[in-house]
Amino acid sequence: MGELILEVKHLSKSFGSNEVLKDIDFTCSKGDVTSIIGSSGSGKTTLLRCINLLENPSSGQILFHGQDIMEKGFNAPRYRAKVGMVFQSFNLFNNMTVLENCIVGQTTVLKRDKAEAEANALKYLEKVGMIPFMNARPAQISGGQKQRAAIARALVMDPEVMLFDEPTSALDPEMVGEVLEVMRNLASDGMTMLVVTHEMSFAREVSTNVVYMDEGVICEEGPPSQIFGDPKQERTKSFLSKFK
């Protein structure tokens, strides 16, 4: 167990009268790869979006290295730069090439100079195998390529944690593998990751910790061997049985 990075305490989120997250508690330490699984509408994505402050939590606390990120006057942009996010729909900047996508955050947010930012971008584009396509615009490449570029764009910021929001759900089946491959490599490099996913084999083989969510609560949580091998809760069993 490494150093504690994220602590979520009694987190709730409602959209109007619809309570999407109810009293969520969980923690994330350095080097953890946590997979969040569960059926659609169980609040997995909302949890991730709350952690990145793309949604305002209704109540509860989120601590990043012990600091409450929901405090008034908290510098959200600086925090988000340390927490990488990969979206289901990629969200690459359409007005830039792949390389520019990987440079713009470093120069505008981290104030790195252009040469340093480009060198760093090339390093990570190489890592995700996107060097050949670095001069292409998002509209000109495939979904799998877009997602690998989006991962590189997040990595160039040297994040402490990477959040993945169903990174393979919008991809054609034959492109899922290339993205999961990049994520596996990232995990074995020791990156702290929080992955919302429907890829059970990924959750089972790569993660150190699995969280099963159902109807806005964490139903069960534990190491993958236990969750997949010997689930304690009835709901977890019935959910996992659909994948066999």
Partner: protein, 280 residues
């Protein structure tokens, strides 16, 4: 019969042009300078207003910021509705005579150019504000989220990601406004601005050649608008960038980035098969 009228018209036009050609050309020049300047300033005004309108008011913001934002947004709204909802010809009169009226003639517009550029600019700005608002709205919210997620502020997101895409989307409207301005600056004759159309009034008043002069004006305006609509289309294609891209070979990129030691190092690291171990 009708043919002879056309011959007559051609001769009249040649006559007018030999006499007043320079005045017409000067009018065209003034029209172009006014409409170009005012369109550019109007676009700047429009972008500023559109961006202000897009600033989110968040729950966590301090109270003074919320109040200030609301007041500014209401002011922008009033500006847009006022200048979009009244005729430009009246606005020109209103401002041109309003200033001396309220200052007991102490302050007047000494230069007709100043007031003309001012009126057409703020008029264009009011229309552009709405176009920019629509343009920002048309950019996928995912683009904003992607930018926020890597730590950009709202302002940085706007400048780097949203506005460039919004600008491309509203290029047709910017073109529209420019074309409209080329034609509609003609109403500035009301405060004595010497544009292309005012030459017609002057010439036909002097030698009573209403129709031949109007023909010159019609053809002149049409040439101007066709010319600029072609230029705008060309600009749009430029903004779209190349429709193809070059694949970059890995060794090429390493040669190119020779200064960056750790990049090369990383590349070698990978090629020697020393990349991260793979689980599973």
């Amino acid at each position: 019969m009708i043919i002879t009228r056309f011959v007559q018209l051609w001769e009249d036009i040649l006559y007018i042009f030999s006499k007043y050609g320079k005045v017409y050309l000067n009018g065209i020049f003034n029209t172009l300078v006014l409409s170009t300047t005012a369109t550019i300033i109007g676009c700047v005004i429009g972008f500023i207003c559109g961006v202000i309108d897009a600033v989110p008011i968040r729950e966590n913001d301090p109270a003074w910021k919320k109040v200030l934002l609301r007041i500014i947004k209401v002011l922008v709204r009033i500006y847009v509705e006022f200048f979009r909802g009244t005729p430009m010809i009246l606005q020109a009169v209103f401002i041109f005579y309003g200033l001396p009226y309220f200052t007991m003639n102490k302050v007047q517009f000494s230069n007709i150019w100043t007031v003309s550029v001012l009126v057409v600019s703020i008029n264009t700005g009011a229309y552009m504000a709405e176009s920019v608002r629509g343009g920002i709205f048309s950019v996928d919210p995912g683009q904003t989220e992607g930018a926020l997620a890597i730590g950009m502020t709202h302002f940085q997101t706007m400048i780097k990601v949203v506005l460039p895409q919004a600008a491309r989307n509203i290029m047709p409207q910017i073109g529209n406004n420019f074309i409209v301005n080329i034609k509609d600056t003609s109403v500035m004759f009301i405060i004595g601005f010497s544009d292309f159309f005012s030459v017609h009034k002057m010439v036909s008043g002097a030698i009573f050649t209403y129709f031949p002069s109007a023909t010159i004006e019609m053809v002149g305006y049409l040439i101007l608008t066709l010319l600029f609509s072609a230029i705008l289309r060309w600009a749009e294609r430029r903004m779209d960038g190349s429709s193809s891209y070059e694949l970059v070979r890995a060794d090429h990129h390493l040669a190119r980035s020779g200064d960056y030691n750790h990049t090369i190092h990383y590349g070698e690291h990978y090629r020697n098969g020393n990349g991260p171990e793979r689980k599973g």
